[in-house]
């Protein structure tokens, strides 16, 4: 056996001397549960516990439990917090009601996507912002700049757990003794559990129903154990990547980054230009919104069993037209799936192209997103 093509995406072996990786507060729990660790965005993360495919399937069929404490958490509060936050987000977050969460972007003045974030409006002027791990420091710096004394980095002082899958919400509701089925999609609330307070939001990154919980690390340990006792299965970032890819959720740093704009990435819905409020990138984004993008983030699949990988090239009539930004084998669907920017003429559903897989062309078809939608 000889390595032919290593995964070039976000999941990679820890660099030698991996001591510089940051450690999850719940690391010992993961190790005891049999986790194999991997370096990801500067953190030592559980790659898998029992096996990535089993963990993927459990999340689709029951309830998967993820430690996502690597995500960068910042709170901002005080008079004017909403208006200040609006000055850096593409979405008109003033429209978000208290008790709701919203997906939005930070763009630069050229319209490039600096990060995609989830903002939780806990109170009219109190927000919790969730950044990608790799962008956590930049995100905090951005918020501290607009609210110097009222932006607080809480990545160290809190942990974040996600519980995802068709059984996730009832299971979490039983454990924290709250009827969470009444929580709307993208709703968030603060609950008290065993004398500890936690933020629960009906959000996630798997395409499943479920919740994300932010709470202090010692409480997170208890919550993790209680959820496992109640039947949730620990899931590593290996399955997290295949789950989000099946749901066609982009990963910042792979599918979107500072060189891509929201329109070509299919994220027009996350950009509000109508409210007239100024925000970083607005001028360029308005210009971009008025013309057709030159390329689009397309979703492609293979006919049969195959593994698509980031970096694989895509050809039309033997001419290169794009490169996969993400790709994998879909455990749920049984074929290869991936995302790639393609010139508009090749990006519509039904177009057949060729991906070069280990030197050989394999037919791939452009399909509508998402690859997988949970049964409603």
């Amino acid at each position: 056996m000889a390595a032919k093509q290593s995964h070039t995406g976000p999941v990679s072996d820890p660099p030698r001397g991996s001591h510089q990786l940051r450690t999850l507060q719940l690391r010992d729990l993961h190790a005891a549960a049999g986790a194999r660790f991997v370096g990801f965005a500067g953190w030592e993360m559980p790659l898998q516990y029992t096996g990535a495919i089993k963990e993927h399937q459990t999340t689709r069929e029951a309830a998967g439990l993820f430690d996502v404490s690597h995500l960068g958490r910042v709170t901002i509060e005080g008079d004017g917090a909403t208006a200040q936050l609006r000055s850096v987000t593409t979405f008109d977050i003033a429209k978000v009601r208290p008790g709701r969460a919203q997906y939005t972007l930070y763009c630069n003045s050229a319209g490039g996507i600096e990060d995609d974030v989830l903002v939780y409006r806990l109170e009219p002027e109190r927000w919790l912002v969730i950044h990608n791990a790799a962008n956590a420091d930049a995100g905090f710096a951005r918020l501290r700049k607009i609210m110097p004394n009222r932006a607080q980095h809480v990545t160290e002082s809190t942990a974040m757990l996600a519980i995802q899958g068709p059984l996730a919400l009832p299971l979490l509701g039983r454990v924290v003794n709250k009827p969470l089925s009444e929580l709307p999609r993208f709703g968030c609330l603060e609950v008290t559990w065993a004398g500890r307070s936690l933020v629960v939001a009906r959000t996630g990154y798997t395409g499943e129903d479920g919740a994300e919980c932010i709470l202090e690390p010692s409480a997170a340990e208890d919550l993790w154990n209680s959820l496992v006792d109640a039947g949730a299965t620990p899931v590593g970032i290996g399955a997290r990547d295949t789950l989000r890819l099946e749901a066609a959720l982009p990963l910042h740093g792979s599918d979107i980054d500072a060189s891509t704009n929201p329109f070509e990435a299919g994220l027009r819905w996350a950009v509000s230009l109508e409210d007239g409020a100024d925000f970083t990138g607005r001028t360029t984004l308005r210009e971009l919104s008025e013309r057709m993008p030159e390329r689009a983030l397309a979703h492609l699949r293979t006919e049969g069993r195959a593994v698509l990988r980031p970096g694989y090239s895509i050809e039309a009539d033997k001419e290169p037209v794009g490169t996969f930004t993400s790709g994998t084998f879909s455990p749920t669907l049984g074929y290869g799936i991936g995302m790639a920017y393609l010139p508009l003429m090749f990006a519509s559903s039904g177009t057949i192209l060729a991906s070069i897989v280990r030197g050989k062309p394999v037919p791939v078809e452009v399909v509508p997103r998402p690859f997988y939608r949970r049964p409603s």
Partner: protein
Amino acid sequence: MEYPSDRLYAETHEWIRMEADIGTVGISYSAQEQLGDVVFVELPDAGTVVTRGDPFGVIESAKAAVDLNSPVSGEVISLNEDLPGAPELVNESPYDRGWMITVRLASPGELDDLLDAAAYAQLSGEV
């Protein structure tokens, strides 16, 4: 047992189990464990001539695509037809139902260059 003693191992982590002049080839427990869940296997047709140390097929997990190198030279007699449709057999049963090909050896002397279970067990720490 992680390394059965009824077969020989290549440094590239394939095993071969001999019956008369026919060898059955697969990959070791530690190799499949290192790869993680196997999702794709490509094997040669019967009749293909394979050469010691050269690739005869490909195996892929989410983590990586790797060549399968033949531990011996000879002709492929049969292949595990179940494997392309059920590559998880490589993880579930690397020494039995996850076998890959059988080969009629051209030069049985090549077996002398392979490792026994104890020698391979030492090496496999380095997979």
